[in-house]
């Protein structure tokens, strides 16, 4: 493939097309070839035909996008990493994929993921695990592991994923790329196969911060009449240009910057705080007293909502069907037992239990109250600081199989990302160094709809940190 294409970020590619230096068809051929030859199992489907050329002046200029398999795409397999949806080709396309297409980004392929977005390692996919391009014996993170690996390895110029408790930010961290979880409601959820509806949000996974801003600017848009929880975005999303952090107050929550974080990740985090200071930021210690309870609340709320959302997979209208001896109930029970993987079943069971008669108040009711406290903690913190910084994932990418024996140990991967999800606020993950040769990462969070400020700060940090991801694309 021509280095001309691979060496450029997506923003640079759009500029090269606009300047007439590159044709969209050259970009397509280069990336389509790399995606088709992918040996990381990052893709579950790759487009075969050249797309029609983008309309003249289209902002995304024909730079193709890889899409997590959780998004429905018309007549294209959309299986959410699950056997129960094997072969499913939806009759409609998710709003966000439609918007990207209209802005000039054709669909390059569908990316592998943890089944129904439940997982932090991509080992829960019915279509096999994705390998981390930095070291193939390691996981890429999850659940948007295919999207993260594809971008990190240069098999896609950029990608979209979904984040419920960290499913964009954590794989971005483990693969050394940028991942943005937008404010809840900023991006339409129509056509996104639902996991936990009060938390799910789509966002970009990209090589750098400017790419994330450009892709996000076209994912959001006016309120979608097909998604009653969509809000849109109150202002234009700008391409970030900041090179310093003068006047920016960054809060470091002690609850999310020490306990449970490995020494290598912590060292990189401390170095990033020094970098931020050098850029002119004021670093303040803050408290988020309820953050240590976020994971517990999340593992009630998310499974409860999942148990309800996944009731629709019953072997009647689409997907897998396993017939019973004679009754409809037996058909349901056998189809679901055969179609869902272990982790999905575990969460359905957990959520059903938490919502069942006699337990609702003790579990779901309490968890929703904890959620209120967590949101209040953030509101109070944002009185004193502009943005909050934490490590993204507590460790670098771990080895395949290392955490699959104990569900809670796997869940701890999202310790630093779940609080923002419960509060519905935006957060970006960006690589900030290496430990054991593998990428470490920094999370920057802000109040609802502060994406422009987050992107500016992340851009300034990115420039000063100078992380080089080219090794993973080699």
């Amino acid at each position: 493939m021509s280095a001309d294409v691979l060496d450029r970020t997506a923003v640079e590619l759009t500029r090269a097309v606009t300047a007439g230096e590159l044709q969209p068809s050259e970009i397509w051929s280069a990336y389509r070839g790399r995606a088709a030859a992918d040996d990381l199992n990052a893709f579950t489907w790759v487009a075969a035909d050249h797309p029609s050329p983008p309309p003249p002046g289209a902002p995304l200029a024909g730079v193709p996008v890889a899409v997590k398999d959780l998004f429905c795409t018309r007549d294209v397999p959309s299986q959410a990493g699950s056997r129960i949806l094997e072969g499913y080709r939806p009759p409609f396309t998710a709003t966000v994929v439609e918007r990207l297409h209209d802005a000039g980004a054709p669909l390059l392929g569908k990316t592998n993921q943890d089944e129904f977005a439940m997982g932090s390692s991509n080992e829960n996919s019915a279509f096999g695990p994705v390998l981390n391009p930095w070291e193939r014996a390691r996981v890429p993170g999850g659940s948007s592991g295919g999207s993260a690996a594809a971008v990190a390895a240069g098999r896609a110029p950029w990608a979209i994923g979904t984040d419920t408790g960290g499913s964009i930010r954590q794989p971005a961290a483990l693969c050394g790329i940028v991942g943005l979880k937008p404010t809840y409601g900023a991006v339409s959820r129509y056509g996104m196969i639902a996991f936990a509806s009060s938390l799910d949000q789509a966002g970009p996974l990209t090589r750098d911060v400017a790419d994330a801003a450009l892709l996000f600017s076209r994912m959001t848009g006016p309120k979608d009449p097909c998604d009653a929880t969509s809000i849109g975005f109150p202002e234009p999303v700008e391409l970030p240009t900041a090179t310093d952090l003068r006047g920016v107050r960054l809060g470091v929550p002690e609850e999310l910057s020490g306990p449970g974080i490995t020494p290598g990740v912590l060292a990189a985090f401390q170095a990033s705080l020094d970098t931020a200071r050098d850029l002119g930021a004021e670093i303040r210690e803050i408290r988020l007293p309820h953050a240590p309870h976020a994971l517990a609340a999340y593992y009630i709320v998310a499974p409860a909502e999942a148990s309800s959302n996944l009731a629709r997979f019953d072997g009647v209208r689409y997907g897998l069907r396993v017939d019973g001896e004679d009754s409809l109930t037996e058909l349901y029970e056998r189809t679901r037992a055969a179609g869902f993987g272990d982790e999905v079943k575990r969460r359905i069971m957990l959520g059903t239990y938490a919502l069942s008669s006699g337990y609702y108040d003790a579990y779901y009711g309490r968890a929703q109250r904890v959620r209120t406290k967590i949101a209040e903690d953030f509101r109070a913190a944002f009185e004193a600081v502009d943005l909050i910084v934490t490590p993204t994932a507590p460790s670098v990418a771990f080895e395949l199989g290392a955490k699959s024996h104990d569900p809670w140990e796997m869940y701890l991967n999202d310790y630093c990302t779940v609080p923002m999800s419960l509060a519905g606020i935006p957060a970006i993950s960006l690589p900030n160094g290496r430990s054991e040769g593998l990428p470490t990462s920094l999370q920057v969070a802000g109040p609802a709809f502060s994406e422009n400020r987050i992107l500016q700060a992340a851009h300034a940090l990115e420039g000063a940190l100078g992380f080089d991801g080219s090794e993973a694309r080699a």
Partner: protein
């Protein structure tokens, strides 16, 4: 602690057939997760309202205007079994 009996009850509610050693496994795994989750029981939350939605929204309903729905043949195209323009299933009454 979730015992055998509760695992089977929850599996029935969730329409998941669970058999043999899976019952013990679920009992063990779910109990372990619930032990972690139970820590929120220590918090004083008496006067705290539950979160119903994270971002203020109002007027979320779209105009109630008739519009075409998915054509019947499209809706049925992916169904495992179809009869007389409908999804075919065993009788719910059968035991």
């Amino acid at each position: 602690m979730i015992d055998r009996e509760q695992v089977l009850h929850v599996a029935r509610l969730a329409r998941l057939s669970v058999t043999g050693e899976d019952v013990e496994r679920y009992s063990r795994e779910l109990s372990s997760v619930l032990d972690h989750v139970a820590k929120i029981g220590e918090l004083d939350l008496d006067d705290v309202p539950p979160t119903s939605h994270v971002v203020e929204v109002s007027g979320a309903l779209r105009p109630d205007e008739p519009r075409p729905s998915l054509p019947r043949e499209t809706a049925l195209a992916q169904a495992p079994a179809v009869e007389d323009d409908g999804f075919l299933v065993p009788s719910p009454g059968a035991s």
